[in-house]
Amino acid sequence: MARRHEDASGLFTRRALVLSGAGITAFGALAARLYKLQILESDRYRGLSDKNQFNYQLLPPSRGRILDRDGVPLAKNADNFRLLLEPEQVPDLDDLLARLSKIIPLRDDMRERIRKSLKKRSRSSAVVLAENLDWAQFAAANLHLPELPGVRPEVGELRVYPDGPSMAHVIGYVGRVPESMDTEDDPLLRHPGFRIGRTGAEKALDKKLRGHAGALKVEVSALGRVVRELPDPATSARPGDDVVLTLDQRIQNFAAGRLKGQSAAVCAIDIETGAVPVLLSTPGFDPNLFAKGISGPDYRALLEDEFKPLFNKALGGTYPPASCIKPVIALAALQQGVTDSHERVRCTGKIKLGDREFHCWKRRGHGPVNMLGAIGKSCDIYFYEMARRLGIDHIRDAVHAFGLGTNFDLGLGGGNTGLVPDQAWKRARFGTSWSQGETLIAGIGQGYLAATPIQLVVMTARLASGRMVTPYLIKGQEPPEFDDLGFSTAGLGAARAGMVAVTEAPWGTAHRMGGLGLGDLKMAGKTGTGQVRRITKIERDDRVRKNNELPWALRDHALFVTYAPADTPRYAVSVVVEHGGGGSVAAAPPARDILRELLKEDPVTLARLSVTNTTAKGPAT
């Protein structure tokens, strides 16, 4: 019994030691493993833990505003209540969308877009679920957030253009970052709510307006819910800079109203500084639609509109300068000594060159006209003669000096050089030699000549000042002091006198509209009627059809260029009304009105007006 007991005990002790040894080995292995995990590999796991714990949220900067010359905002920001989706935190998208649609309306195209952007973007970057929600919807979504895993509410920015269509071409608009764009250099470009300047000043000045993104360190739970925000002033977003334009918001809107319903362009320029207070292309479009994301049908309608609302005609539209060119031709003729201001040319309504006849717009002719009369009455025969005497090379040089053929895009892009033809150009373009008839046609601003409205206003400003006025739109991009163009005072005086006669002489082409209407201040101008069709011999023999008898697209372009006051020029304005008919009727009155509004805001002119008013009133009282 004792022996057996002794045996059993001894056996147990031996076996227990074996088992304990195994146990101690196992515990030792665990301790070793823990040592490896917690000591040797600790740094790596601490990094992973931090990655779990902290996220960086990109803080988009506030976009700079665009202001007019008086500080009136032309583009500003409003709150955009939106919902973002963190794709990696969504267990079931269909389920989520079903829940969400009970809170905010979700259109089918929105669902489609969400799915598409989810597919496109990497799982780590958020996509926009819905934006521009009203406060009630946003509040409701916030309330239901616990049932919407992966949804993050955010108050973003919506770009707002208070003036809408009238500023659309200059200001442009912002939109989603285009897919083709390289988004590597700025993480902001990958932020789902970020909007980039797509056209106009928004695009041209995007870098300045954009600002710099900040980063917000947040502590997140395993479900991605933000537990704590750890703001750091050093990493907060830096807002973009405001940008000031030379535009005058009130007058730009005035011009838009004045040309409502027309396909037209208006440019105005400060003759002394080159500042552009009005740069209008009508009809416009509502840039706010683009900022929010324009719908397909709306966009198509804009694209298909005959009046081309998306196109900036003021910078990019090219038109025959027509009779507006005549003061420049006159000046060139004087400068080259091919005439003097007193010489009279007899206008019989037509002249013959070889076997071709060239007609004056006035069938029966103006009779004998000198330079003053030729500009004032816009006699074509006189300028055919001057063009013939000058030759195309001199015409080209003069026209170039006045800004035609130069692309003034004002830093916005979308400008056009127009066309100033010469012999070399024609040979290169058509392979044929220049004919003298083409020189004659160029003398009245028709034929190959093409100019943009901004070129026309620059031409007018240069005529008014004799200096190489250059336009600018963006404060900070002021051109240097303007050089003298090198034309004689006498020549400039004669050309200007002709332009004054256009509006002030009883026989002037634009006299009927009744002058500037600001005290005794005089304006100078020049009408133009740009022919867009060829008038055939048969039609001319019968009767030239009037504009209102023609379809819109065949009617003449109406042009008018003007500056005032005639004695001390302050502003120049050009108006082009596409297919508007005669320049004196369709273009001159709105140009005059816009010019008047500009002068009413000019302190120097105002001072003069008040002096004349008091002296005028003086004797009466």
């Binding site: 057996r4 007991h5 045996d7 059993a8 005990s9 056996l11 147990f12 002790t13 076996r15 227990a16 088992l19 304990s20 146990g23 101690i24 196992a26 515990f27 665990l30 301790a31 493993r33 823990l34 040592y35 995990l37 917690q38 000591i39 590999e41 600790s42 790596r44 796991y45 601490r46 992973l48 833990s49 931090d50 779990n52 714990q53 990696e88 502590e219 997140v220 739970s221 395993a222 479900l223 537990v227």
Partner: protein
């Protein structure tokens, strides 16, 4: 050692003598482990006694009293109830098979009126008791023989197969391993052990290939390559390793564990409590817990070694083996060394069932300590 050898074999003990023999070291060590559990649960709840820390403490207090009570009753009661308990546990396992409640795909629970019991949990101790009881009456020579391996083998295989079928791979392996350890301690010959090990190995491989449920297979695949799919099934293991590893030497500090507080850790109150602890207290904390468990096991094995009867030696050692396996499996699991099998860390993990099992087990150990010199009947009958 000698002191005990020469001690008189005792028939009965007075209550006072029993109380005087309580092993207070074991009590203190168990209390320490439970207190660590309370601290971690308090931290996980963001520094709150609710919902778990206070309950854990209360539960432990009650079970400690229960343990001391059970330690003081006569050891013959334990012996007498060994077979009946085993039979009841086996019947309950069959009951689970027939009427069990399915929770998360596994049928482990049995609804008995208002309470829900987990028969596999009862079986862990019942098997220890029954095997110890079986070998107690057996001479060493017979214990080593092949003829007498049949009954213990059946006693082990029946519950293991039933538990496997629930399915609960973790518990089945725990029960099986405990049983095997007792058979080993009882003196099975090495020749049979070798043969058994080879057969077991072949059977195990066959089972791994043919017998696994999909979720078990997924667990094993995940285990082999946890970082392949960090947001899917491997997520738990990866997050657990991140929590442990980021704890470093001294940890992130009490209440400072980001992985647990931000919910990156799964099951942090139960199976992954060791990870939460490791994150906040670092290597120093985890090593301390390992040392504490080893001290408990050392104390338990010393008690087993001092018992003058086979029943006491084998039963106390069996409880220690069960306890050790809990700890080893749980900690290996949270470190990604073995697949996730759902075994909690005794005394520290929240949960009443396992704590109750463990405390009753230590009640048995304590009882054996108190009755180490008692004379036990050879016990050929069902009860004694």
């Amino acid at each position: 050692m000698n002191e005990f050898r020469v001690a008189r074999i005792e028939r009965t003990l007075s209550l006072g003598a029993k109380v005087a023999r309580i092993n207070w070291l074991l009590v203190v060590l168990l209390c320490l482990a439970a207190m660590i559990g309370v601290a971690v649960l308090y931290s996980i709840a963001d520094g709150s006694w609710t919902p778990r820390a206070a309950q854990h403490a209360t539960r432990f207090g009650v079970f400690l009293l229960l343990m001391l009570g059970l330690a003081l009753i006569d050891i013959r009661w334990w012996m007498a109830l060994a077979y009946p308990t085993y039979l009841v546990a086996l019947l309950l396992l069959i009951g689970v098979e027939l009427f069990g409640v399915k929770v998360m795909g596994a049928q482990r629970w049995l609804d008995v009126g208002p309470i829900r019991i987990q028969p596999a949990e009862i079986m862990k101790l019942a098997l220890v008791l029954a095997l110890a009881r079986y070998y107690h009456g057996l001479a060493v020579e017979r214990a080593t023989s092949l003829r007498h391996i049949a009954l213990p083998a059946l006693m082990i295989a029946a519950p293991v197969l039933l538990i496997l079928h629930q399915p609960d791979l973790g518990t089945a392996m725990l029960v099986g391993a405990t049983g095997a350890a007792i058979v080993f301690l009882a003196g099975l010959s090495w020749r049979i052990i070798t043969i058994g090990a080879i057969t077991g190995l072949i059977g195990g491989v066959a089972f791994l290939i043919f017998g696994l449920h999909d979720y078990q297979r997924a667990r094993i695949e995940t285990f082999l390559n946890p970082e392949r799919d960090p947001l899917g099934a491997g997520y738990h293991i990866l997050q657990s390793k991140i929590a442990l590893g980021s704890g470093g030497l001294v940890g992130k500090g009490f209440l400072g564990g980001t992985q647990s507080h931000l919910n990156f850790l799964p099951e942090k109150q139960t199976d992954f409590v060791f990870t939460a602890l490791g994150e906040e207290f670092g290597f120093i904390g985890t090593l301390s817990v390992l040392v504490l468990f080893m001290l408990i096991l050392f104390t338990g094995m010393m008690i087993a070694g001092r018992a003058r009867h086979s029943f006491g030696r084998l039963a106390a050692a069996g409880v220690c083996v069960t306890f050790a396996l809990y700890v080893l499996v749980n900690i290996s699991m949270v470190m990604g060394l073995i697949p996730v099998v759902g075994v909690p860390l005794p005394l520290i993990s929240y949960g009443g069932t396992v704590m109750l099992t463990v405390m009753i087990g230590f009640a048995l150990v304590m009882n054996i300590h108190i009755h180490r010199n008692s004379e036990l009947p050879s016990g050929r009958g069902f009860f004694l």
